[in-house]
Subunit: 498 residues, 2 copies
Amino acid sequence: MKENYKNYVSTMRKIADIGHAIALLSWDKEVNMPVKGAPFRTQQVATLMGISHEMFLDPSFVNNLKTLEKNKKSLKFKERKNVEITIKHQNRSNKLSTDFVIRQSKAVSEGYHAWLKAREAKDYNIFKESFRTLIELKKEECELVGYKDHPYEALMDQFEPGAKVKDLDILFTDVKKQLVRFTKKIGTHKQVDDSFLKKKFPHQKQWDFGLDILKRIGYDFEAGRQDISPHPFTTNFAPTDVRVTTRVDERNFGSMTWSCIHEGGHALYEQGLPVSEYGLPSGKAVSLGIHESQSRLWENNVGRSLPFWEANIDLVKKYFKTNLKGVGAEKFFKAINKVHPSLIRVESDELYYHFHILIRYEIEKGLIDGTYSVDHLNEVWNAKYKEYLGVTVPNDLKGILQDIHWAYGSIGYFPTYSLGSFYAAQFYAKAKKDIKGLEKQIASGDNSQLLAWLREKVHKHGSTYTAAQLCKKITGEELNFKYFMSYAGTKYKSIYNM
Amino acid sequence: MKENYKNYVSTMRKIADIGHAIALLSWDKEVNMPVKGAPFRTQQVATLMGISHEMFLDPSFVNNLKTLEKNKKSLKFKERKNVEITIKHQNRSNKLSTDFVIRQSKAVSEGYHAWLKAREAKDYNIFKESFRTLIELKKEECELVGYKDHPYEALMDQFEPGAKVKDLDILFTDVKKQLVRFTKKIGTHKQVDDSFLKKKFPHQKQWDFGLDILKRIGYDFEAGRQDISPHPFTTNFAPTDVRVTTRVDERNFGSMTWSCIHEGGHALYEQGLPVSEYGLPSGKAVSLGIHESQSRLWENNVGRSLPFWEANIDLVKKYFKTNLKGVGAEKFFKAINKVHPSLIRVESDELYYHFHILIRYEIEKGLIDGTYSVDHLNEVWNAKYKEYLGVTVPNDLKGILQDIHWAYGSIGYFPTYSLGSFYAAQFYAKAKKDIKGLEKQIASGDNSQLLAWLREKVHKHGSTYTAAQLCKKITGEELNFKYFMSYAGTKYKSIYNM
């Protein structure tokens, strides 16, 4: 079996090499590419994807995996997991015919362009028919791929392997009940002052400050870099080259700063994946939920905490002396945590955020199981925003057209954002138990023990454990929403003097 | 045959897509990559090269080409040329066994590291044994690949298809005879003053000036960009995305400026290749000599001409007001064309430059045919520098170790630099005949007709004609050194008041 496993690894690494070349072609497209380069770039990516797909489904590779599976007793634990996960992915790919993949990719391309047009006109109806096609294809995908309980699980599985509608329904029922109550209560208290965050924060200073903050959380600039792109993202070409991007809005200090820390959190995960497992599931992030737990933990549990700003208030004031005159760590901490309902998901605070996700989850699930149709879906959207957030959506651009996900045919992705926050709270609670004086360390500017803990508990395992297994292994219990509520309770009570 | 040709084109485009992904991986390595990214990057490039190589030698692709060749009468002229050139490349690849390619790539890797060490110690002997291995492999390559008259031709053929030692010997005999006489004569005249070019030229201003100059020669920034890298180069991912790099030396104004125009000239060629011929020989540059003719034409015939600086003296003075106080177009023109023998090829003026190439040509040819051995080759080098340039080489770093080419196993490349200058002079002479008032246009800042002429005469043909055919087609005669001497004669007589 040794030779078989060696061959398996060798092909997986080649596939990873191709995947990382695609990642670079895509990163470059967002960061560097001149406008006229687009058509050939699209073609180059398609060619490499085709080659990778063929290699992954090559009969000799498939057969070798079957042999490994039959003889899995002679494999080590991690090796067995790698084989199992790879076979699972292969099975999924095999179930989607080339014809289906082409139809879907055509629908995505058309959907994306219709979405752009619809946004310009602020009119959902322009997107509707393309969206209908996309949803029909997604339903077809569910049937082709198969599922146990709910068709939506066939879609979620790509992003959060093993996620169940039943569990999410329970979770989001809790979210709704408890967060509605809590945000209402916050609403009865005096609002915090964040006016100084709306002053003009010059581009270059924000940029330099962002680099400093990334260094402070432990991002390794010898194994990465930051650039500007329209939408912040993290990508990697190996754990030794993990890049982040950000954007700068001179009138919104938070936009750059927390996207920087958020993407930095994703990047710390990627930089912490084991180099020796390159190309294998054991060298890859386990799920988007766990990925998001790493970005949110740094963004929110750390990056929006009082200790973190006790450590960094001097730094931020060094860059923005005038804007932050008379602002101490505590005032700063309160301002950056202002809770208020808003229309746009990516501009939301930590609490209302989950209503945004809840709405998308309910709609997606309903589209797939037939509860909702794409007809008048904007009205469904608007009604839910009224109900959960109490806000009136003025037009579709600020409503149903705000996110790119659906236009790209990404259905089943949104729940991972909330899962990420909840995992983050649970992990961070455990880290505080495990690391004595953690928040004192953070307040003194030392984040190294926290990072080491995450490396040891999360990063180094790659996908060897499922998200659920990992959570149990780290915290001793399953994902539990109470940790988020406990974290939020302590934090916002102090901010709103409740 | 239509279906066969279509299949041929389809595979060639895929191979081009892979090649351009490799080009991006390589560009990014020089321009952006964090240090720790190197090992995986090398592996990623190797994987893609392996895939491309396999695709190029795939039996069904080879057989399809054979069928096309047998039925070439039913192909159009350009199609036939594409098939012929592709078969030629395939034959070369087929003659080099995988074992040989691996041995050579290992030798190159070792050679490069030995060269770096030797440079540090300024001692050729540290490089010598690796170089011996490289040269032995090159000799083996010549025998494997085959040649008609001289083994060196088997190596030159990769860079300058069809180049003959016999022709180059005649050419370089002329070069030696006429340039020795001419540079001696110049040496008897009063040297020009270029002291103001050694003042401090700030980095950012040089950078901005470089972008302006690129725009002025017609470089399309919507189909390209400029970045900083240790060694300037041009790369492309399609004619719609052609990128240049440059470097800035604050104490050497010329370093950035003419490398900018030089790489810009290469880039104009790539941007002018026909998009419809993407991936095919008819969409690729014909030879390095012709490529170099485009860079040199812009760098020297245009970029170091009086008319060009009549058009741009105000621009350069806008950026460097103090440094260039009292300097007019003519004084500037004289300074940037100062002729003086030097040790380093890349710092040479336009005339002595060809002695640098001549020396390398003589040594390379001699190494391959056994006239020279790698033993004491630094002494051979130094003696030739004394003889042709009258300079004493103080150490190997400033002598035989100065260029990277040999360390990379590039033998047969150097002559293309001189060929480029000579083609440039001949093309430019014809352009002046064809375009009425060309130099007046240039003096008024309008380079568009010259660019259009090059697009029409050179760029649009790709590799459909050989370099020799192209030269005859454009100028009505074979490459003739007299055009270079005539250009140089007029230019330097005016500069040195001869």
